[in-house]
Amino acid sequence: MQKIGVFVCWCGSNIAATVDVKAVANAMRSEPGVVFSTDYQYMCSENGQNLIKDAIRDYKLDGIVVCSCSPRMHEATFRKTAMAAGLNPYMVEIANIREQCSWIHKDMPEGTEKAMVLARAAIAKVKKNAPLTAGTSPVTKRALVIGGGIAGIQTALDVADAGYEVDIVEKSPTIGGRMAQLDKTFPTLDCAACILTPKMVEANQHEKINLITYSELENVSGFVGNFTARIRKKARHVDEKKCTGCGVCTEKCPSRKGLNEFNMGLNTRGAIYIPFAQAIPNLAVIDTSNCIHFKTGKCGICEKNCSAGAIKFDQEDEIIERKYGAIVVATGFKPIDASYFDEYAYTQSKDVVTSLEFERLMNAAGPSKGVLVRPSDGEHPHDITFIQCVGSRCSHDATKGKEYCSKICCMYTAKHAMLVREKYPDVNVHVFYIDVRTPGKNFDEFYRRAVEQYDVDYIKGMVGKVTVEGKKLHVQGSSLLSNDQLHIYSDMVVLATAIEPDPTARSIGTMLTASMDTNDFFTEAHPKLRPVESPTAGIFLSGVCQGPKDIPETVAQAGAAASKVIGLLSKNELVGNPCVAHANELLCNGCSQCERVCPYGAITYVEKEVRGPEFRGVKRVAQVNEAVCQGCGACTVTCPSTAMDLKGFSNNQIIAEVDAICR
């Protein structure tokens, strides 16, 4: 027979005014299993806690019920009290007779009666409690950052500065990401490369940071503190240790068919190439799909010209497998494919470009060396039309586009317009907009400067279509304020295309069991209070992979994610929540339904030797990783055989409470 102790708190007059606490304590004394029952003015006070401790020792209690305020208030307190007296802290139940009884009922008999029912329910539950011990797991003191853009670089730098090892895995041959492709940054108009490249260099030289470029994540297993990642380091066909980045090979390469990714395909590059002048690591890479040697077995000019002897045609992919304590997702974005919006003639004319392409056209390191020319004929444009919100803010039932606002387009379009007018005052610039959204420090001032100082022609309305007429682009749009349909003959049209998560994000999200929204942006653990964490423990979010944002916001989030990673890695071991799910292997059907509803990927299935009275042999059974399980209980209801149960809120505990309440 269990020995239960009941402790009824007065909470001064908070409870005692409407609940006859002595009557409750007396009544509980006659409940089966209760060997001790008393009341006290303030159970949470030191004297009150001592009273509990003494009773636990004197009566050898193996479970206690405290009738007091909400468990959200003092459950932790009384658990510590029990522990101090040698009782397992999970053998404590709280009957909430303050918030859910004395404070809402005015009538003493009514309040007292309800308090008794609540106390009986808690007694019924505690009798079914089992001592629980929180598991611990060690923390691997190394972080993995997925993506080497500004978000990933900043997170890595901050984590590394705190003294922890960080690996950055980047799918392209260089770090730098989208920011490296930008010409100037709003609203200060400082050059993107000037502020980014020092960070790239710092990351490269940091003794705690290891860059794994031209590599892709293949698989992630494990859980918070103990992830194992398998990374495929693709063959560059260039020996990283020997290549000096001199660039001779890239000049000598006779193949000129590869589209220059860095310049958004606006020009070509050699089959062996260095993405751009300040690439980090500064190493050449062979694009085998365009390399004559790989296609015909001949050529080999790069090999002949490499004085360092770095060319290795027979280099193979390398698999890196390493353990990490935390993973940061910084997979970034890409502009949507503008060809979906062919009313703007994107596929019909080279002179219709996306904003990121325009960024390259304006850049001194771009295909036209920073001289703004029409891509079609290299002539100087005299009239440029910008169209905002291309693919953003579309309704969910529209035929194409994204539902969200891409956030950065208003500002970069103002920037483009301003830069064009600054450099080439003879060019007319029109901007079609739906709304100009400029919340941000110095943002609206910036936009107003474009209008007032640079005389950019902002037109409220949308372009309906763009048609190619000779060398001109006929832009037909509405001007809502003048209630006119405008016909503008431009030399170039620039589309402020919406941005979307990088296409690799979805598969990475699946690998990490990190949840994503319908747009493939990663979901945060809480939209307000935990904005840089994924609901999956140990996974953190940095930059646009979580939602559209500009550079300062990305850097801020990167730092925030880093601080969360540092907080995690600074622990030697993680103490889990013992109220987690547990599978009874004898009852488990192996049906995988629980695995499907687990939001944390905490359930895996294994083939296991099981021995029971009715079954012996190998069978497929569910296994709960207690370090990952958060204890929601979704799996328990999915399980038809009740093989899956939740510690601390077991089926039997809840049924006992139901029975006691309905008695």
């Binding site: 909430n96 509803v597 939001p599 979704a634 328990t636 008695r663």
Partner: protein, 146 residues
Amino acid sequence: MPVNTEWKPKIVAFCCNWCSYAGADLAGSSRLAYPADVKIIRIPCSCRLNPLFILRAFQRGADGVILCGCHPGDCHYSTGNYYARRRMTLLFSMLNYLGIDSRRTRVEWVSAAEGAKFAATMNDFAKTITELGENVKLGDLRCKEN
């Protein structure tokens, strides 16, 4: 038919720990009254509510069962209440199909900030159950002896 003046409804409210239980606490600290017939059982998440528990409550003499959880989209465990929503919709529909009044079962989303909503919901639910009277269709006579 003689009206049993002694009869008081028994109402079981399952509340998720993170939103609704906290909402009930807030109703308490705001001193917003609701009938003492409502007894709360704390569960970690609305998705922990097994249909067995609901039927058990009715068997043991409950006259109404209500589940409160975080608003859809706000679940502490991100998706729990979405599963609960489907399960409860289907279960309630089945009970109704068997002739059990659907007003005896309810789901309400109550956030930790909605103390007033919690109290109002319980008042309304208790009123509904009182009007419906004793649950005779889904009870177990053996449990009603005392």
